[in-house]
């Protein structure tokens, strides 16, 4: 599995880099420490001999040098040289060799012990005495270097172990990730193969994989719901279109077969009326789909819903009057600005008003009101007609869900579904309530923020 390998290699590489950084730091620090410890020892030893000279003079110094040679460790290098560079006392074969002439103070040098041919690297302190003699005191650095060698070897081993462990961790990690992702992939594969009912199981840990699975599940739920709705719409569209189409068909046949001109004229009028009615149904169905597909948000703008409500109430007031009822508009007290689609909101309100006039007429007045509530606008259309029983309200909001098909030839029951779709477009909702008696349709639209563009 190449992904697993990639993850393992990546983990190994990361382990390598981080270990290199740590080991490099250790190496640098210990080297530093070793050098400074050496320097301290050398300087101390030099200071001791200088003190001896100051207090006891040349004789005491010669004794001190001899003591240092006798009792010091094998790294100790001490020598007292006369001004000509010959050793008076000490364990050195000659004056140390340095870059340039020997200076006062701390420096690195190459020394040769008496009776040993090979020179050693050493750190020394040189001190010039008043009569021109040189006091040399120092230590070879060979031992410190050996210690560093050991340390470097151990660090290298540690590095190798770290890389191997890193690769191993990577493999385990990759295995785990691969297993979790694999489970999700397996489910999505099955879903692709048309089993939309499957869902991704959660491990219960609530980790990122669970969240991913959860999101995918939500997406699937939404898709299922949409597909179910689509299926229902297609079914009911086919079902609802059947009767106007068959009426259209029979009227057309009758017109074609009759020889009586007046009769033909009448049948043709009926054909046109049925075709118009069909067209209206299809137009509204299309409009609902478009509202739901959120295609109209580019035409959103600020407008006053209260003004629109007043305008529409004025428009429908005579229609209500002809239908034997009255329409009253309750003017809002506060400004009722909304960022939305003015034409669609107008259509929604007029659909509600037309429904109220058609079904709620005669039994009392119809009231239209617009009110600014907390962070939302409420557009209410209430009538005193028979209303809709609670258990059938959901059905009334569905496409083609006309409750009483014998009541009216027009409208085809799409009105409330369209209003509901328009509400959704504005992130709002249409709710149907009891007006005791009658129907109270409330369109709630969030008014504080602009709906996000999609």
């Amino acid at each position: 599995m190449p992904t697993t390998l990639r993850i393992a290699l990546l983990a190994g590489a990361l382990a390598l880099v981080s270990n290199l950084a740590v080991l490099g730091f250790i190496q640098w620090r210990t080297h530093d420490e070793a050098v400074s410890a050496q320097r301290r020892l050398v300087v101390e030893q030099g200071a001791v001999l200088s003190d001896i000279y100051r207090t006891g003079g040349m004789r005491a110094l010669a004794d001190g040098v001899e003591d240092s040679v006798t009792y010091g460790d094998p790294q100790t290098a001490v020598g007292l040289f006369d001004p000509a560079g010959r050793e008076v006392v000490g364990n050195l074969a000659a004056m140390p060799r340095t870059r340039g002439p020997v200076r006062e103070g701390y420096q690195n040098a190459l020394i040769r012990f008496a009776k040993q041919p090979a020179p050693h690297e050493a750190a020394i302190v040189a001190h010039r005495l008043p009569r021109g003699e040189w006091l040399i005191s120092g230590r070879t650095v060979g031992n410190g270097l050996a210690l560093r060698d050991t340390l470097e070897r151990s660090l290298l081993i540690a590095l190798l172990v770290a890389i191997i462990l890193g690769l191993l961790c990577g493999l385990i990690l990759a295995q785990y990730v691969g297993r979790r992702v694999g489970a999700i992939v397996a489910v999505t594969d099955r879903i692709t193969a048309r089993d939309l009912t499957r869902r991704i199981p959660a491990s219960g840990g609530g980790d990122a994989f669970d969240r991913l699975g959860h999101r995918i599940n939500e997406m699937l739920d939404r898709i299922s719901a949409l597909m179910e709705e689509l299926r229902m719409v297609t079914d009911s569209l086919a079902h609802d279109l059947r009767s106007p189409v068959s009426r259209l068909q029979s009227a057309a046949h009758a017109a074609a077969e009759t020889s009586d001109l007046a009769e033909r004229d009448q049948q043709l009028t009926s054909v046109v009326r049925q075709a118009d009615s069909l067209m209206r149904m299809l137009t509204v169905a299309l409009e609902i789909s478009r509202s739901e597909a959120l295609t109209s948000r580019s035409q959103f703008a600020w407008f006053d819903v209260g003004e629109l409500g007043a305008e529409l109430s004025e428009m429908y007031e005579p229609v209500a009057e002809e239908a034997g009822t009255a329409l009253r508009f309750e003017r809002p007290r506060d400004p009722t600005q909304l960022f939305g689609h003015r034409q669609l909101i107008a259509q929604a309100i007029s659909n509600l008003v037309e429904n109220a006039i058609r079904y709620g007429g005669r039994d009392g007045e119809i009231t239209v009101s617009v009110a600014q509530q907390v962070r939302q606008l409420a557009i209410t259309v209430a009538d005193h007609g028979p209303g809709i029983p609670e258990e059938r309200r959901a059905e009334a909001l569905r496409r083609f869900g006309r409750l009483d098909s014998s009541r009216s030839e027009e409208g085809a029951g799409l009105g409330l579904a369209l209003v509901s779709a328009i509400a959704h477009l504005h992130d709002g909702a249409l709710t149907l309530m009891d007006n005791g008696p009658g129907l109270r349709a409330v369109l709630l639209l969030p008014s504080t923020r602009r709906p996000e563009d999609t």
């Binding site: 209206r280 137009t283 299309l286 109209s296 035409q299 005579p318 229609v319 689609h341 107008a346």
Partner: protein, 227 residues
């Protein structure tokens, strides 16, 4: 008095039907069957009106319209479209068309709109006297005053707008959707007879107490104001 109309429509049956109908009304109709050809013919500016289908091969109607307006061709354009949503209508109007008609439509509806557009062009050419008169009806748009045979008629604001629109289209058929769009500025299809109710109220105010009718119903099409 015939006018030159350019019809850009790719559906042969619709094109023939419209061309014959407009021909019978005395207009001379030239046809183009795709957007590019339509744009090419339209740019010479010799037409009184362009009827433009929205879905066209090669170049779609809205692009043709935008190109025309960009080229400063101000010929009135009536867009025909099978796209019926409010959003589509508004997009059509905003891209520079003068009117928008949704398919399918009755020929009467198309003719009414064609005549209204041709009329608007006429009005643009000769600066009209600000007073409108239809027979013994006199309308003063500045004062929003209406008199018939010298007798003042009181109208509500919307009724006045309705009457003014009728008067500006005197002698021409005006359809219900034209009224809804032009007088109320709503671009949807109402399910009720809301327009008829308003027209009949206006008619009562105009004709009560007078013998001669002014506001006529044209069967299958709409209404017409004529002396």
């Amino acid at each position: 008095m015939g006018r030159k109309i350019l019809l850009v429509e790719d559906d042969r049956e619709t094109a023939t039907y419209l061309s014959n109908g407009l021909g019978q009304e005395g207009h001379s109709v030239e046809q183009a069957t795709n957007g590019q050809d339509g744009l090419f013919r339209a740019t010479d500016g010799s037409f009184d009106l362009i009827i433009l289908d929205r879905m066209l091969p090669v170049l779609d109607g809205i692009s043709v319209l935008k190109a025309l307006r960009a080229a400063k061709v101000e010929t009135p354009v009536l867009v025909l479209s099978a796209l019926a949503s409010v959003g589509d209508r508004i997009e059509g109007l905003e891209s520079g068309s003068d009117d928008y008609l949704v398919k399918p439509f009755s020929f009467a509806e198309l003719l009414a709109r064609v005549n209204a557009l041709l009329r608007r062009r006429e009005a643009r050419i000769d600066p009209a006297d600000h007073r409108l008169t239809v027979g013994d009806l006199e309308i003063d748009p500045l004062a929003r005053m209406v008199r018939r045979s010298g007798k003042k008629i009181d109208l509500k604001p919307r009724e006045y707008l309705l009457l003014e629109y009728f008067a500006r289209n005197e002698g021409r058929v005006v359809t219900r959707t034209m009224l809804l769009e032009q007088v109320w500025d709503y671009h949807f299809d109402p399910g009720t007879n809301v327009i008829d109710v308003h027209v009949s109220r206006l008619r009562r105010k105009l004709e009560d107490g007078f013998e001669k009718p002014l506001l006529h119903t044209v069967r299958g099409a709409g209404y017409m104001l004529a002396a």
